[in-house]
């Protein structure tokens, strides 16, 4: 079963009692895979309970698919164990690297888009999909720098990855807005080029802004409500694709559950609008 084409929320353990009181308030919850790689205890008890009433998306942040070296097969095994245990409706990871040698860096770092990196990433995705026995989604990044060596646009790069590996894409609309603003390009042009037919899930999140001499620098902080221009871009995407699973991500300065629900309600109105148009 795929994720439902409804709003979803990042799962925060502090909201667990409210979530149990309001079962089904959203169609799915998303968790970071690495937080559920302990042996037992409360995290697993909560995730099992959550999965009884909701679809689950497992979102990895640690595989370093964009790394130059080989994938960590121990980590692939951990992911496989988690996926076998929970049978989540979706598994996704990032177009980024996050480890160097034996050190894991706990951030999603950028890479040049070249023929070489394309081949490496496609090999990593093939290996991942084989090891996990399922199709994965790959998320577009929020970036603050570009690389002189890049010869591919990000959208062409993602399209080609999807074509070569058969993976789906996770379209983070906030990342599109952050990246386009930071690199002084047009987010609508990015979305016009994006292979929307490959999108299996959407992410929406808040960002912080500061002013540089030549324009704004946006930081993908997941610490605020989704910004209005991101909602507008999201509506335009949904008008083209129809309803898609749409996650509100809020990982820092996490607000109370009702605030997250009001963000989800805003996404739901847009999804309903698209459903009505299609039904008409």
């Amino acid at each position: 079963m795929p994720l439902p084409s409804t709003p979803g929320l990042s799962f925060k353990p502090e909201h667990f009692p409210k979530i149990r009181d309001q079962r089904g308030a959203v169609g799915f919850y998303e968790v970071h895979a690495e937080n559920y790689m302990g042996a037992g205890g409360a995290p697993h008890a909560m995730l099992e309970d959550l999965h009884r009433d909701h679809a689950i998306s497992i979102h990895g942040v640690g595989l370093s698919i964009g790394g130059a070296g080989s994938l960590d097969t121990d980590h692939l095994t951990r992911l496989r164990t988690l996926i076998d245990r929970y049978q989540p409706e979706s598994f996704s990871e990032h177009l980024a690297w996050s480890s160097h040698g034996a050190a894991w860096l706990n951030d999603l770092l950028p890479l040049p888009y070249t023929d070489q990196t394309l081949a490496t990433i496609c090999a990593h995705i093939d290996q991942t999909q084989t090891a996990l026995g399922r199709r994965m989604l790959l998320e577009n990044p929020a970036t603050y720098v570009t690389f002189a060596d890049s010869t591919w646009s990000e959208t062409d790069f993602l399209t080609e990855i999807g074509r070569r590996t058969g993976c789906g894409l996770l379209l983070d609309v906030n990342n599109v807005f952050v990246t386009s603003t930071n690199h002084r390009t047009d987010p609508r042009a990015y979305l016009a080029d994006f292979p929307l037919d490959l999108v299996g899930e959407i992410h929406l999140a808040g960002h912080e802004a500061e002013d540089l001499p030549d324009g704004p620098l946006l930081i993908d902080s997941h610490s605020r409500p989704v910004a209005d221009p991101v909602w507008t871009l999201y509506s335009e995407v949904i008008a083209r694709t129809g309803p898609l699973p749409s996650l509100i991500e809020w990982d820092n300065d996490v607000p109370d559950f009702d605030t997250l629900i009001s963000e989800a309600t805003r996404a739901d109105a847009i999804l309903k609008g698209a459903r009505d148009v299609r039904a008409a």
């Binding site: 409360a42 995290p43 130059a68 034996a102 050190a103 860096l105 706990n106 070489q116 720098v145």
Partner: protein
């Protein structure tokens, strides 16, 4: 003949080095304010690792102060970075790091307080296990029984009053004069997933250590009254199996 250079690997090595230095790597695209842009990554990496460490060791952070902790976390993370993406397993080297870190040499109890916090984290994530039926203890001679304890059970001891230091640095705790060390405790996960730190006497701690080591009950409790430790283990559902009760 030398191997062909790998530009992807070379770029990542440079980028990684720059994360821990005060410079911006070469090879980035021509954009305004490159130093500020790169700083986002440096801040994310350092802030992310520091937050993970402070979640694991909140009392250490409280004892040394947030600013000092941040600076110390940077040194620890640069020298002992996580070896896997499973951050809940990171920090095992932190107590030994504190023992050898000169700026905290005047706080000799810190490594033991860190060991206590580490034990709590391990207990929180330890494997689940069934709870044994306590009626199996009701045999005429229980001395040959072997109690298998839950994977979350840890016997803790410190030459310092680390249990009191930890307790007095919990939110809302009352300050009181510290007793002299040593101190002992049982650290384990209870049925509702809390991980209390339960102070023990030296004798109870010795019984607990022998039970963890797998000694039969009679041998573990030799020369002492095991009622207190047995009551704690039963009360919190920490005995997973009682062996040796069938011939």
């Amino acid at each position: 003949m030398s191997a062909l250079p790998d530009p992807h690997a070379a770029m990542q090595a440079q980028f990684h080095e720059a994360l821990w230095a005060q410079k911006t790597p070469a090879g980035l695209g021509q954009e305004d304010a490159l130093d500020r842009r790169f700083l986002v990554y440096r801040n994310n990496v350092q802030h992310g690792l520091r937050s993970a460490l402070s979640q694991r060791f909140p009392v250490i952070e409280r004892l040394v102060g947030a600013d000092f902790f941040a600076a110390m976390a940077r040194v620890f993370a640069a020298n002992h970075p996580p070896e896997t993406p499973v951050l809940i397993n990171w920090g095992g080297a932190f107590p030994a790091f504190l023992e050898a870190f000169p700026p905290v040499a005047k706080l000799p109890y810190l490594p033991d307080v860190a060991r206590l916090e580490l034990a709590r984290g391990q207990a929180y994530h330890a494997a689940d296990a069934p709870v044994a039926d306590p009626s199996a203890l009701g045999v005429s001679d229980p001395s040959a029984l072997r109690l298998i304890l839950a994977p979350s059970v840890r016997a803790y001891h410190s030459a310092w009053p680390s249990v009191s230091i930890w307790a007095q640095n919990q939110p809302g705790a009352q300050q009181a004069p510290l007793p002299k060390g040593p101190q002992f405790a049982l650290i384990a996960r209870t049925r509702n997933f809390d991980v209390p730190v339960i102070a023990l006497g030296a004798a109870d701690h010795a019984v607990l250590c022998r039970l963890i080591a797998g000694d039969p009950f009679g041998q573990a409790a030799a020369g002492t009254d095991p009622t207190a430790i047995l009551t704690l283990l039963l009360q919190h559902g920490l005995i997973t199996k009682i062996e040796g009760d069938t011939p």
